[in-house]
Symmetry: C3
């Protein structure tokens, strides 16, 4: 199961991370392989700054990373928010253009989910 | 035409049900076959409780069901909202994980629409 | 790269047009061919009325049109908003049903992005 989640507003991270957790639980229970990516653009990239998310959400994100989920940020969005990539939390992937990533992953067979 | 609609906030039900109605009208006019599912997760599952929606919306939902549209609820979301599946309105389908349903339907060729 | 963007609320136009601009920039840099459509339904069709958008957004939209991006409005939404198609800004495409357009384009291999 290959899925890309799209998050572009800070207030949607709680829903998105809950979605990811539920998906991982189902995948483990059903012994399914997966590629899951969470792509943030717009103001939502701020979630990748240290301490930006509530602790309960940071825990879910860290655990999802440990289980192989990729968390990606749009470079254009970082620039628009004056965020230097080096200041992002560990294991954040930076992609040149978030919308291109969303299109390319769908073309590669990933399902798209916008929480 | 195979489509899955995704609703995760109560305030999006009006738009979603309007979308479904417009799609059904077009499909009937064009004599097209279809599979349409509306998948609710997050707080949006509350719409499946009796009297949760405005009457005008309940009428659209009931009519859509009569025309074969599947209305599904995420079991994780029901649990999170302390809702027992038995209390839901008639003909609500409960799926183990809403996000998995969204991914599986897309993999089966369904278009994804998030109203 | 073939993509359909979906906009159904006026407040999402700024994000959507920024997304389109970023995608076009990437496509030009990478010398990729593309078909990009922005499909508006619900209240978001009001953006196609003259002077409905902020000047900065109108400029992005006009430039995107000049680069081949199709801007489409749902006829059902226009009717619901009592908008006559003739009153829309130049080069707005009117489609019979927005949700059908979203489904058909996905079936034709377009990626779906909801800003």
């Amino acid at each position: 199961m290959n899925v890309i989640f799209h998050v572009d507003e800070m207030e949607h991270w709680a829903m998105a991370l809950g979605n990811v957790r539920n998906m991982l639980d189902w995948l483990h229970q059903n012994k399914e392989t997966y590629q899951i990516e969470v792509l943030a653009n717009g103001p939502a990239v701020r979630a990748y700054l240290p301490s930006a998310l509530a602790d309960s959400l940071s825990v879910i994100m860290a655990q999802a990373k440990a289980e192989g989920v990729v968390f990606a940020a749009c470079r254009n969005a970082l620039r628009a928010q004056s965020i230097e990539p080096e200041t992002l939390i560990e294991k954040t992937t930076v992609v040149p253009a978030g919308v291109v990533e969303l299109a390319q992953k769908q073309q590669a067979g990933f399902a798209y989910i916008k929480p």
